[in-house]
C-alpha cells in the first residue's frame, strides 16, 4: 500500500490569539466551518452538565443586531444551518455552507460568540425544551444505560453526571448562562477549523478581522476526573422490556499513553468492528443482538473502554457469559497472525478513509487538539499500527481489560433477568441522576 500522508493543513494563529486550521478537501463545493470552544458539560458540574446545554440552545437565540429569526435566516441564505453541539469537553458552533459563503460564515460565527444576546424573554421556553429533552432521554434505554455506567465510573465528576433533574433545570437562568459563557469563551480557549472547498486567503482575512480584539474570560480549570471501576451490576429496572441494554467496561489509558494505539487495535479485534470476536459470537453465531459494538471513549487525560449491546431479554445472562468469555480468551492467548493482520489493515485503512471527507478530517484535527497531540502523532499512527504484534495485543488485553473489575450496567426487565445475571456480579440499584 502507498505510504499514507495526511492532507496538508494550514495552521495559523490570529492576532487575537485564536488558533485556526484550514484544510482543502473533497470535491463537493461546500465549506465546513467549526468554531470549537473549550466549554463542555464538564465545565459546570453542579448542574450535572446541563447548563452548558442550555447555553448551546441559547447561542442560537440571536447575536449582535440579529434576533433568532434573522440569525437562522442569515445562515440559511448561505445554504447552511447553525448547529451548536455541546459535548463533554467542548461546545462546537458550526455550519456547512456553499463554498463561496465561507468568509461570510466566519464573520457570522464570530458575531455569535462575541455578541450573544441571551435574551431573558426566551428563558422559559428554552428551559421547557430542555426539560422535554431530559424527559425523552430518560425514556431511552441507551441513555439510561450510559447514565448508570458513567455514574459508576466517574461518580460525582461531571463525566459521571450524564442526566440531570427537572429541579436543576428549573434553577437555570439567562444570567447564569451568560456568566459561564463569559468565563469560558475566548480566543485562547477556542479553535477555528475550516475544511472542504473555500477561498483560503479570504477566509483567513475574514477571521483575522472578525476575531480581532476578542478577549479571554477568567475561567478556572476543572478538576481532573479519576475514574475507577469495580465488578458489580448496576441495574435499572424497565419492566416488560424486550431487550436488556448492556454497557460493560472500565477505565483505560487515554490517547497520550504509549499503549493507546495498540489498545485501539485490540478494541477493533475484540468488539470494535463488524468482523470482531464479540460481534461474530453474539450476533453472527448466536443471534442474541443486532448491533453490538465496543468503543474507546476519550476525554483529556482519561478514557474508558465499553462494550454496548441490546440483547434479547431471555439471553441476557448468556450474552454476559459470551462477552466475558471473549475478553478472557484474548487475555489468555495471542490472536492468530492472519486475524491480527486483517484487523491492522482495517485500522490503517479506515484511518485513511476518515481523512477522505472534510468532516472526517476536521474530526481528526479536533481529536489531536483535544488530547494535546501533534501531527507527528497522526503521521506516525499507521506505522505504529503496523508494528503491533500478537503478543502486544494479548499484553494490552491482560493489562487494560481485566473482567474482574469491570463495571456492568444493565437496563432491562429486572424480574425476568435477575436470576440470569446474578452469577456475573453483585446486583446494585443503579444511580441515574434525575430518575
Amino acid at each position: 500500500m502507498a505510504p499514507f500522508s495526511l492532507p496538508p493543513v494550514e495552521h495559523r494563529g490570529l492576532s487575537s490569539g485564536l488558533r485556526t486550521s484550514l484544510v482543502a478537501a473533497g470535491s463537493i463545493p461546500k465549506a465546513h466551518v467549526r468554531l470549537v470552544l473549550d466549554l463542555g458539560t464538564v465545565h459546570h458540574g453542579e448542574s450535572a452538565g446541563w447548563l452548558p446545554r442550555l447555553l448551546g440552545d441559547y447561542l442560537k437565540e440571536g447575536a449582535g443586531e440579529l434576533d433568532a429569526t434573522a440569525l437562522a435566516d442569515a445562515v440559511a441564505r448561505m445554504g447552511g444551518r447553525l448547529a451548536v453541539n455541546v459535548e463533554d469537553d467542548t461546545t462546537t458552533v458550526s455550519a456547512a455552507v456553499l463554498a463561496e459563503f465561507a468568509p461570510d460564515l466566519v464573520r457570522l460565527l464570530a458575531t455569535v460568540v462575541r455578541e450573544p444576546a441571551f435574551p431573558a424573554s426566551e428563558e422559559h421556553r428554552l428551559k421547557a425544551d430542555l426539560a422535554r429533552r431530559l424527559d425523552l432521554a430518560k425514556a431511552q434505554p441507551g441513555a439510561l444505560a450510559t447514565a448508570a455506567f458513567r455514574d459508576a465510573l466517574y461518580d460525582r465528576h461531571p463525566y459521571g453526571r450524564y442526566l440531570t433533574t427537572r429541579d436543576v433545570i428549573d434553577g437555570f437562568s439567562a444570567a447564569a448562562v451568560r456568566s459561564i459563557f463569559e468565563a469560558y469563551a475566548g480566543p485562547s480557549k477556542a479553535h477555528l477549523y475550516v475544511g472542504g472547498m473555500f477561498d483560503a486567503p479570504a477566509v483567513l482575512e475574514a477571521a483575522e478581522t472578525a476575531f480581532d480584539g476578542w478577549a479571554d474570560g477568567d475561567a478556572v480549570p476543572v478538576a481532573a476526573a479519576t475514574p475507577s471501576s469495580a465488578r458489580a451490576i448496576h441495574l435499572v429496572d424497565r419492566p416488560g422490556a424486550e431487550q436488556s441494554t448492556l454497557s460493560i467496561g472500565r477505565p483505560v489509558p487515554d490517547p497520550t499513553d504509549e499503549d493507546y494505539v495498540a489498545l485501539a487495535v485490540t478494541n477493533s479485534l475484540l468488539g470494535g468492528s463488524f468482523y470482531s470476536r464479540i460481534t461474530l459470537n453474539i450476533r453472527e453465531d448466536k443471534g442474541y443482538t443486532y448491533s453490538p459494538r465496543s468503543q474507546l471513549v476519550t476525554h483529556p487525560g482519561v478514557a474508558h473502554w465499553v462494550e454496548l449491546a441490546d440483547v434479547t431479554t431471555a439471553v441476557t445472562g448468556a450474552s454476559l457469559k459470551e462477552i466475558f468469555g471473549e475478553i478472557e480468551r484474548l487475555r489468555s492467548e495471542p490472536p492468530a497472525d492472519d486475524e491480527l493482520e486483517g484487523i491492522k489493515n482495517y485500522v490503517t485503512g479506515t484511518y485513511v478513509l476518515r481523512h477522505a471527507t472534510p468532516g472526517g478530517i476536521l474530526d481528526q484535527l479536533e481529536f489531536l487538539d483535544l488530547h494535546g497531540l501533534d501531527e507527528r502523532w497522526a503521521a506516525a499512527y499507521v506505522d505504529r499500527v503496523i508494528e503491533i504484534d500478537a503478543a502486544e495485543v494479548q499484553r494490552i488485553a491482560a493489562a487494560h481489560l481485566p473482567p474482574d473489575d469491570m463495571t456492568i450496567a444493565i437496563v432491562g426487565d429486572a424480574s425476568a433477568i435477575r436470576e440470569q445475571i446474578e452469577p456475573f456480579g453483585e446486583i446494585v440499584e443503579a444511580k441515574v441522576v434525575g430518575s
Binding site: 429569526t69 421547557a128 422535554r132 424527559d135 424486550e242 443486532y290 482495517y346 477522505a356
Partner: protein, 445 residues
C-alpha cells in the same frame, strides 16, 4: 438574481449496459486514494410478497451469509482485511450493498459483488441466525424504543391504502418466523437478476481497466427477465383523516402530519422540494419559526419527503411529513392550528423573491449534502447515481438537478402548495403516551 456560484460541480458519469442487462455507472474522483463500489437491486420493502412482510430486509441480511466462493461473513472479513468498510440497507424501492476501500483493491470488490449477484449459498442455520438478528434489530429500533415506529411505520400503515406502500417493511414477527429458504430462492429469482440491478463505482480508478474488470466478473452472470411491474399507485386523498397510536414507552405526546407529493421527476416534484426547504428544513423554516420560536410548542420539527432517505433516492408515492414531540399543555388541535399558521400563507400567496432565492440556495446545498454528507466517502454520490440509473434510466440526471430546480418558478411553487398542502388532503397521527392512554381508558369505562 445572484451571480453564478464561484464553485461549480460537474460529476463525471460514464454509463454502460452489459449484455445481461446490468447497468454500470462509473464516476472517477481522484481527490482521495479510495474507491466506493455499490450494487443496487431495484427491489425494496414495497415489493415483498404478502404474508412475508420484512422479507426484502431479511434477504439483505442473507446476502452477507455466503455465496458460491465466499463463506459466511467472508466478504466482510475480506473487506476489513483490505482496509475497507461496508454496509447494506433496504429502502422502499431498492436494496443496496456497498464497500469503501483503498483504490488498489477495486478488483477484489468487483469480484465479491459479482459472486453474490449469482446468489446466496446458505443453509437453515444462516437463515435462523439472521432471523434472530433481524428480530433484534426491530426490537432495538422499534419495539424497545419510545416513538420507535413514529412516524415512519405508524403513519404509512394508517395513511396509505395500497398494501405495497402501507405495510410495515421491517416486518411482522410472525411473517419473519414463516420465512423459508424456498422463499429466499424465489425472491432472488424474481428480483436479483442483473437486469434489475445497477453497479456503481466512484473514486480513484481508471475507467478502461475498471470496465475490463467489471465485464470479466459480471457480464457472464446469467440474464433473467426483470420482474413484472407492481401496481403501487395510491388513490388521491380527498379528506383529512386523523389517527392515534398508543405508545407505552413514550413520555410525551407527539403529532405527525403527512401530505401526498407530486410524481417523481415532474417539475412539480422539484417545486415540492423547494416547499420542503421553505416549510420544514432548518431553523429558518416556517414550521420551526411558528412551532418552536413563536409558540414554544416543541424544541424541533423534523421530517421531509422520504422517511428512509432524501427526495432523490425514492420513487413516488411518498409522503411529505412533519413531526414533533410536544408537552401535554397542547392538544393535537392546537398543534394543527400552529401548523396551519405556518403553511397557509404559502398557499395564500406566492413566495417573494428573497424567500424563493433562499429556498433555491438551501435546496442546492442540501443536494450537495446528499452527495457528500455520508461518513462513507463516495457513498452519497454512488447512491444518487444508482438511484437515477434504476429509477429514471439515466444516471446523468445527477447533473441536471440544479437545472431542474432552476426551471421552477414561484408561481409553480404556489400552485403546488395550493394543490398538495390542502388541510382536507392530509393525514394526522397523534401519539398517545402510555400514562395518558391509561387515564383515557379509565374515563371510558
Amino acid at each position: 438574481m445572484t451571480a453564478p456560484p464561484a464553485f461549480q460541480l460537474e460529476i463525471p458519469v460514464e454509463q454502460h449496459t452489459f449484455a445481461n442487462g446490468l447497468r454500470v455507472v462509473f464516476s472517477p474522483d481522484h481527490s482521495a486514494p479510495i474507491v466506493t463500489v455499490a450494487v443496487y437491486y431495484h427491489v425494496g420493502m414495497r415489493l415483498e410478497p404478502r404474508g412475508r412482510t420484512g422479507f426484502a430486509h431479511l434477504f439483505e441480511h442473507l446476502m452477507f451469509q455466503g455465496s458460491e466462493h465466499l463463506g459466511k461473513m467472508e466478504l466482510v472479513k475480506r473487506v476489513q482485511a483490505n482496509g475497507g468498510t461496508l454496509n447494506g440497507s433496504t429502502r422502499y424501492d431498492f436494496t443496496n450493498y456497498f464497500e469503501v476501500l483503498p483504490a488498489h483493491t477495486l478488483e477484489l470488490a468487483l469480484w465479491m459483488e459479482a459472486d453474490r449477484m449469482r446468489g446466496p449459498v446458505i443453509t437453515e442455520n444462516e437463515l435462523d441466525n439472521q432471523r434472530d438478528v433481524v428480530k433484534n434489530e426491530i426490537r432495538v429500533n422499534v419495539l424497545n424504543q419510545p416513538y420507535g415506529g413514529f412516524p415512519w411505520i405508524d403513519m404509512a400503515e394508517r395513511a396509505f391504502s395500497n398494501w405495497h406502500n402501507a405495510h410495515n417493511g421491517y416486518g411482522d414477527m410472525v411473517d419473519l418466523d414463516a420465512a423459508s429458504l424456498e422463499d429466499a430462492q424465489a425472491f432472488f429469482a424474481s428480483y436479483y437478476s442483473p437486469a434489475n440491478a445497477a453497479l456503481v463505482v466512484v473514486g480513484d480508478f481508471e475507467s478502461a481497466a475498471a470496465l475490463d474488470a467489471a465485464r470479466r466478473y459480471f457480464e457472464d452472470i446469467p440474464a433473467a427477465p426483470p420482474p413484472p411491474p407492481a401496481d403501487v399507485a395510491e388513490p388521491d386523498w380527498t379528506e383529512e383523516r386523523r389517527f392515534t397510536s398508543n405508545d407505552p414507552l413514550a413520555s410525551r405526546p407527539a403529532v405527525a402530519v403527512s401530505y401526498q407529493v407530486p410524481e417523481r421527476q415532474t417539475l412539480e416534484y422539484y417545486a415540492m422540494g423547494l416547499l420542503d426547504q421553505v416549510l420544514l428544513q432548518g431553523e429558518d423554516s416556517r414550521l420551526h419559526q411558528e412551532l418552536v420560536n413563536r409558540r414554544g410548542i416543541t424544541g424541533s420539527v423534523s421530517g421531509g419527503t422520504n422517511f428512509l432517505g432524501n427526495m432523490f433516492n425514492a420513487q413516488t408515492p411518498l409522503l411529505w411529513t412533519a413531526s414533533l414531540i410536544h408537552d401535554d399543555t397542547h392538544d393535537t388541535d392546537a398543534v394543527l392550528e400552529a401548523i396551519d399558521a405556518a403553511i397557509e400563507p404559502v398557499r395564500e400567496r406566492a413566495l417573494d423573491a428573497a424567500q424563493f432565492e433562499r429556498a433555491m440556495v438551501k435546496a442546492r446545498s442540501s443536494f450537495y449534502d446528499s452527495l457528500g454528507g455520508s461518513v462513507y466517502p463516495g457513498f452519497g454520490r454512488a447512491d444518487l447515481l444508482a438511484s437515477f440509473a434504476l429509477m429514471d434510466g439515466d444516471a446523468t440526471r445527477i447533473n441536471a438537478v440544479d437545472a431542474r430546480f432552476a426551471e421552477v418558478t414561484p408561481a409553480l411553487v404556489h400552485e403546488v402548495a395550493r394543490e398538495y398542502l390542502r388541510p382536507d388532503r392530509r393525514a394526522v397521527l397523534s401519539v398517545v403516551p402510555d400514562a395518558a392512554a391509561t387515564a383515557e381508558a379509565e374515563v371510558a369505562s
